[in-house]
Structures are given as structure tokens and as C-alpha cells.
Symmetry: C2
Subunit: 244 residues, 2 copies
DNA sequence: TGTACATCAGTGAACGCGCGTTCACTGATGTAC
DNA sequence: TGTACATCAGTGAACGCGCGTTCACTGATGTAC
């Protein structure tokens, strides 16, 4: 009998394969239809199954949605982290550029998933308060934050224009991100939020098609200009290269 | 017989009143349900009518949606323009602050409508190419642009960090905004887009609830800091006041 | 190794619901003479 | 001013469709002895 670890039987593997297929199909349909909606009936049809079969894997539609949201946050966070780590630690500007580009690329590659996590909350889906989605969001966020913490540590971060914000902000922030306690100075956190907001603005406009009237080369240049502007405003050094 | 101008009979007035009520009801329902969706059945029920009655006023659901989108663009553009004009022409920084604040306030006041025009396109709604919605979008956009054109005219606009973008960008821009021909220099247009993107980022994050973990005062301060950062990066002077 | 039982994936029928849209109609409002 | 007709708002019934979800079931896969 070939190695079938007691912790994961053949049935278990089949099961998680099916779960993956359900999710993948759901994402395919979202992309195909350009929606953040997800219909059990459609998924089942595409998979050659009957709708009730899906209830073996998800208690209801919301449970699937929750998993998709968590996955999206995780994947976005991982994409950003991977890109950042592919650039030498000392090249802070380069890391910011890589981070921003990864954020953009992920959003363009998965506009519906991007909207799912960072757009208007989905119709009829009540996100569980303090639930797994919030946790996933925090984790993705802290991937973005890391860069700014590192920059601040090296003294490469400019103070925000309007200060004194930190007091109130960090109070809230630490309620929600206790892991940052004492680690992230007020101003660093604020600088990160502002950089993120600027990045998010151009990224979401582009991902949702509101810059389609610009030709691709112009969109690229605009994005590059925007990311460099943000870096400069935050006091980050210029990247060694903006090739990638 | 009291003044009933031949151009608008009593029936006509009743008719446009009903159209307004339909739209208003649709917006109420969108807000109530937190969706960009709109259902004829619901609207009719709230208005105490039967669904088929709505077909006297709109050919189908898409036609209503198109009007709602056009209205939203127009209202957003007007809100921005009004705020801008309420500040003395010379106080460019103040005008930018007013513009940005109006953009934010409108988005916070109508998150669903904001998503309707600037979020992920609505499920199942095919925006008519080159149609009225595109026109409305351009008009709203040019309200934002005006400020930067004026600033550039007064020599108060810094050149973007990455230049040479203008060439490609303006070529596309002029295809779509021929009214800007010769009026708006490349760099001004680019500066405007970048400022808009940054503004849009923080605004949409807040409007969709992704900054809810920050207390209101901190959100206000963050927004102010962001808007001032954008102004500084663009070379706009500091506003005389950021009270409003 | 073989047999008896338990587990679980998936089916098919059904329920209740809501949707957009059509159609023939009624009744009220406006218009022409 | 009154009457005959045209216009139009709104109704009620119906069509076809799709949705999420439940339930009792079948048949295959895994497990215990």
C-alpha cells in the first residue's frame, strides 16, 4: 500500500482537490462575468455537478465567499511580499517600486478579486465582524507596512506633512494591530497609509477600466510617475531601477 | 386656466415628477441595501405601484441605470465645481482643498453611487460605448482639471517627476477630450491625473469602509495630510485655510 | 484475506421565492371641435 | 360650453427563468474485525 499518511487519506485529498476546484471555478466565473457575484448553480454547472453537491463542501454561499476573500487578501499580501523580497534589502526605493508594481499587477490580473476585498462590500454578504476576513486583511496590510518600518528604521522616512495625527491614529491602529505595539512609530504608520492610499487610487482606477482611454504605454508611465511621486513625498530614496 | 405652458403640460409635469421619484427611490434602495444593484420590483413596491408601470418611464433596467450613472457623474462634478468656486480664485491651495473635500464628502455621502461611477462596473450592465455615460464622465473630469489648468496658467504647477509621459498621454487625452486641445499642456494634464488618483485612493478606501478601524478624527487628519501632500507634490501653494 | 458495516460524495425532485418583461385591459386626463 | 375622441398611467395575469436550499435516496469508498 503506497504512502497514504493517516493525517490525509485519499478521500481527504480528493476532498480538498474538489474544494480547490470549486474555488477556482468560482473565480473563473467571476472573471468571465466581470462580477464579484458568485452563484452556486453556475459553479455546479461548469463542474458538471448538481448544485446541492456543493453543500458537502460549503455550508452556504457566504462561507464560500468568506474563503474567497481570505484567499484574495492572502494572495495579494504574498504577491507584494515576494516582490519586495526579490529586491536587495538596502535598495529601499527599489523595494517600494517592486511592492507597488506587484500591487498593481495583482489588481490588473484579478480586478474582480481586487474589488472583492477592497471595493464596495459585496451585495448581501455580511462580513463576519472580527472574523477571518479581517484577520486576512490585517496580514496583507502588514506586508505593506513592513517596507515603511524598515525605511523608518534606517532613517529614510520623511515625517508626514500634517503631524499629531499619529496620536489618534496609533491608538486606533494598535487596537486593531496590537502586533505593531511599540514597533511602528506613529509617523511611519501614517506615511504608510498615505502611500498606500495613493497607490490604491491609481491602481483601482486602472483595474476597473477607468483609465482605458489612455494607451498602455501612457498608463505605465503615469503609474511610474505616481509611484515615484509617492516615494519622494514619503522621503524614500529613488529606486536603483524601475525595470521590473 | 392657470399658466400651463404649452411646452410643459400638467401631464408632463406629473410625468417628470414620477421619473424623479423612481430615481430617488432607486437611490434610496441602493443606500439601504448597500448595493449598486437596482431592482424594478423593489422600486415599484416602495412606490406603491406594480412593476410593469415602470416601463412607461424607462425602456428597461439598463436605461434607468444609465440615467443614474449620468446623474451621479453630473452631481459629483457639480459638487466639486461649487466647492471650488466658493473659494477666491487666487487661493489656489484653498481651491484644491475645497475640491478634494467636496469629492470626499460626496463619496462618503453616496458610497453606492460613487462605486456606481468609479468602482468595478456593474454586473450585467453594458455601458453604451461612446454614450451619455462617457460624456458625463468627461464633464465631471474636466471640473477637476480646471483647477490645475488655472494653476498652470499662474505658473504654480510643478512639472511631474517622470516627464515625457505627456506625449503619449495627451495624444490619447485629446482623442477623448478634444475640448482641451492646446489649452491644457501635457504636464498639467498629467499632474491633474496624479492628484486625482491620490485623492481617489484615500476617498474610495474611506467611502467603502476600509478605514473604519480609524476613529473619525484620525480619518479627517489622514485625509488632510494626504491632500496637502498631493498639493505639495504638484507644486500648489498651501491653502489659506483647511477649515471647511 | 474476506466480510459487514459506516462514511461520505453526489443525485434528483421539490420548495419557495424573486426577477425582468409582455400583453390585453381599464379608467382617468387632456384635446379638438 | 359641452361632447366625442385620443392619449396615456397604471393594473393584473402570465411567461420563462434562475436562484439558494432541503431532503430522502443511491452507490461508491474506506474501515473494523
Amino acid at each position: 500500500m503506497p504512502a497514504t499518511p493517516a493525517t490525509e487519506s485519499r478521500r481527504d485529498r480528493a476532498r480538498s482537490a474538489t474544494i480547490d476546484e470549486i474555488k477556482r471555478t468560482a473565480l473563473d466565473l467571476m472573471r468571465e462575468q466581470g462580477t464579484t457575484d458568485v452563484r452556486f448553480t453556475d459553479i455546479a454547472r461548469v463542474m458538471g455537478m448538481t448544485p446541492p453537491a456543493l453543500y458537502r463542501y460549503f455550508a452556504d454561499r457566504d462561507e464560500l465567499l468568506t474563503e474567497l476573500i481570505v484567499d484574495a487578501y492572502t494572495e495579494l499580501g504574498t504577491a507584494v511580499a515576494t516582490a519586495r523580497e526579490s529586491v536587495p534589502e538596502k535598495d529601499i526605493g527599489g523595494r517600494w517600486w517592486a511592492t507597488a508594481s506587484a500591487y498593481r499587477d495583482w489588481a490588473r490580473g484579478h480586478p474582480q478579486r481586487f474589488a472583492l476585498v477592497l471595493g464596495l462590500p459585496v451585495p448581501g454578504y455580511a462580513a463576519p465582524e472580527e472574523g477571518p476576513t479581517t484577520e486576512a486583511a490585517k496580514r496583507a496590510m502588514s506586508e505593506l507596512a513592513q517596507l515603511f518600518v524598515a525605511a523608518a528604521g534606517l532613517g529614510r522616512l520623511r515625517k508626514p506633512l500634517v503631524r499629531g495625527v499619529g496620536a489618534a491614529m496609533v491608538r486606533c491602529a494598535q487596537d486593531n494591530h496590537p502586533e505593531l505595539e511599540g514597533v511602528v512609530p506613529h509617523d511611519t504608520f501614517q506615511a504608510m497609509l498615505q502611500a498606500w492610499a495613493s497607490l490604491h487610487g491609481i491602481t483601482s482606477l486602472e483595474a476597473y477600466g477607468h483609465l482605458d482611454w489612455l494607451e498602455p504605454a501612457a498608463r505605465d508611465a503615469l503609474f511610474r510617475s505616481q509611484v515615484l511621486m509617492v516615494a519622494k513625498a514619503a522621503g524614500l530614496p529613488a529606486p536603483a531601477s524601475t525595470a521590473a
